[in-house]
Symmetry: C2
Subunit: 428 residues, 2 copies
């Protein structure tokens, strides 16, 4: 008997009616002969509301207490989902992370899953119940309540699917699947039928918000297909799965946009061994989130310009840290550039395809958009541009690679539209 893990995000559970809809979906799957494990997020804006409540109470809430607070959102959802299934005449049982045995380390607000017990779930499934699991939460070995970090109900779902050897992990959301670009910005963007774990992870890292990259990691590691689909329709969405032969044909698979960034440049850095390490150790110690790092040497390798991008919200702290380091290390100057965004093209084996980078730069030039930093990796090329130019940049690049014209299952394109609950820059 095959097992389906079905995950419903906050927008898909925002009202009693939507909870009933999710319940009906689970019941239908069970009646089709499958065992079903539901993983749910907090309803609608619950998590944001709780965070506001916390901030109104304490400017720097202890992380342990933040986890204590936020995990109530998912607990409400599992209870209501179980009631909705009960109301439809079927058997269900809700389980918290503690009851299930989803054990994490003790890093509050960003805990990592250590092990998941099958015992309780197996027992409830054997009793013919639909099992409903609270996403986002965990418990450490001391019984402390933890959370897995932003968007981590997806992680709960794929990790459970892996442990239970599920046939598929269905991620229900309020969009039809993964797109070649954000359709709100690029109207010609196409829904992708199939995409590989690697490309999807890269997408998530450079701005696709439909799924969290850690969740995809679990899918890849245990080879669980992830089906991203719309909770309001029966249409097939996007299947995230292992690479297939046909997938190598296309270099550029999608374009993404990551907004609200800032760049910090340290100019005239003495280019001696260990300097970059010292700088980023200090940056990390101050909890400044580092996005891309770019460095160029000059003056015969004696000096370097070292830049990195960070979230706009971290810029004040980043500046303070860097100015302190600059004074300590005798670095020339620190420059801050706020109001920038990153446009990326993603594809498998891009470096082996000549001309991809130049096509991208050319597209931006035709759009009269100035490129600030550039960084490249095995499957991504990213350009920092002014925030106000970013949507236009995305359209021009999407157009330059003719992503709207490719179609069919073999032509895997990748990117994700913004989505309500999952896109929100807050935990759960």
């Amino acid at each position: 008997m095959s097992l389906y893990v079905q995950k419903f995000g906050g927008t898909s559970l925002a009202t009693a009616e939507r909870i009933h809809r999710a319940a009906r979906r689970a019941i239908r799957t069970k009646l089709e002969g499958h065992r079903v494990v539901l993983v749910v997020s907090a309803m609608g804006h619950t998590t944001n509301d709780l965070i506001e409540l916390a901030r109104a109470t304490c400017s720097h809430p202890p992380k342990r207490e933040l986890d204590m607070l936020l995990t109530t959102g998912e607990q409400v959802s599992i209870a209501l989902a179980a009631m909705a299934i009960h109301a439809a005449g079927h058997e269900a049982i809700s389980l918290t992370a503690a009851q299930l045995g989803l054990v994490t380390d003790s890093a509050h607000t960003r805990a990592r899953i250590q092990r998941i017990s099958r015992d309780r779930i197996d027992r409830e499934l054997a009793a013919d119940k639909i099992v409903i699991v609270a996403g986002f939460q965990g418990i450490d070995v001391g019984g402390e309540i933890t959370t897995l970090g932003r968007g981590a109900s997806d992680t709960t779902a794929t990790a459970l699917a892996a442990v239970l050897a599920a046939e598929v992990c269905e991620v229900y959301t309020d969009v039809d699947g993964v797109y070649t670009a954000d359709p709100w910005i690029v109207p010609q963007a196409r829904k992708i039928d199939r995409i590989s774990y690697d490309v999807m992870m890269e997408m998530a890292a450079v701005g696709a918000t439909v799924m969290h990259s850690r969740a995809i990691e679990f899918g890849k590691k245990f080879n669980v297909p992830i089906h991203v689909r719309n909770s309001l329709t029966d249409a097939k969405g996007t299947m995230i799965m292992a690479e297939e032969p046909g997938m190598e044909q296309i270099s550029v698979e999608g374009v993404t946009l990551k907004e609200d960034l800032a760049t910090i440049s340290l100019n005239a850095v003495p280019n001696t061994p260990g300097i970059a390490g010292r700088i980023f150790a200090e940056v990390a110690r101050n909890h400044v989130l580092v996005d891309d790092i770019v460095q160029n040497v000059y003056d015969g390798g004696k000096y370097a310009n070292l830049g990195f991008s960070t979230n706009a919200g971290d810029v004040l702290e980043a500046r303070a840290v860097c100015e302190r380091i600059a004074a300590d290390l005798g670095i020339g100057s620190v420059e801050i550039d706020e109001g920038v965004a990153k446009v990326s093209v993603i594809g498998l084996g891009m470096r082996t395809h000549a001309g991809i980078a130049s096509t991208m730069f050319d597209a931006l030039a035709r759009a009269q958009i100035n490129i600030e930093n550039i960084s490249t990796s095995e499957i991504v090329i990213s350009c920092i541009v002014r925030q106000e130019d970013a949507p236009r940049a995305l359209r021009f690049v999407h157009d330059a690679f003719e992503l709207d014209k490719t179609d069919g299952a073999d032509n895997i394109q990748a990117c994700a539209p913004k989505e309500g609950s999952e896109a929100s820059p807050t935990p759960s």
Copy 2:
């Protein structure tokens, strides 16, 4: 080093500002040299809101899932209270029932406490922290989440105070203490300084809503003084404590009103042994709540009229049960009287004081109020009157016993005004 248990109800935690106020109270007590354990209810109307959410989802929610849902309210409160104490620069830690080890039986929505572990609380107190405990909730031996029933955060508080051998259990609420009668109905009602556990339990049973009688039971059993006081002022409230010599002097200690009742009368009941037992076994099996029972025999003891009062909400079920029984047992007729209320006078050793009952009946006669059923016990005399006459009945009886004129600590009077969060007819 003495230990204080401080319990804050929903109205005392309804806003961030009130949570800070509760936090300041706990901190002040700690700075005065005491160890402090806070017990909190859900904020404001949270529990009612959650019950509405449950009803919108399922007409008969499984009790296990109702407990799963409702316990989130107190979990939110403990986290926020800990944050508020942290914001004021002090150390606190929140504990769920599972983390604390408050073990109950498995009767969801009305579980009984079986044992409370001291280990975790003692460890946190030894680390100089204010410990914040979620009221109302428990955990059974299988790790299932339970709740203790209506108003049961008080029970959590007094049970904890008992286990921890606390110096006092302070119950913070939105009234000044326990009154000789509900001041909303009897403006002359006086606040009582001290009252015995027994009289207070009797008060709670016949309509005083300021504290739950189960909570007082724990106080009595383990001799923990309970101080009912206003969370918005520093004034002393009412101390519920063991009987003291001075307490015996006054017979009538207070008057109470219990509204929205109905009476059911079974007339011409064959008065053979076992009949009453069979009737009330059947009534209980149908979950009809029975308030007072009165029976009079007639016709040389051959027949009896047997009546009982019940909540107005149970009257349809009560009628159905009684008509079935009447048919089975050959009982003459079943009469229902809706829209009645019960006025009671309470005091220690009332039967030994002649004239109390007649003073009460006389007062009602002067008010031209007809008395329906009468029942008496060791410390209570109750009269059923028409609902619309009830407030006037309360004032006349209060006046007849001159309860407004007695004062000083020795003249213990008893009754409680209605109070926001504690009075609400819903769990927690």
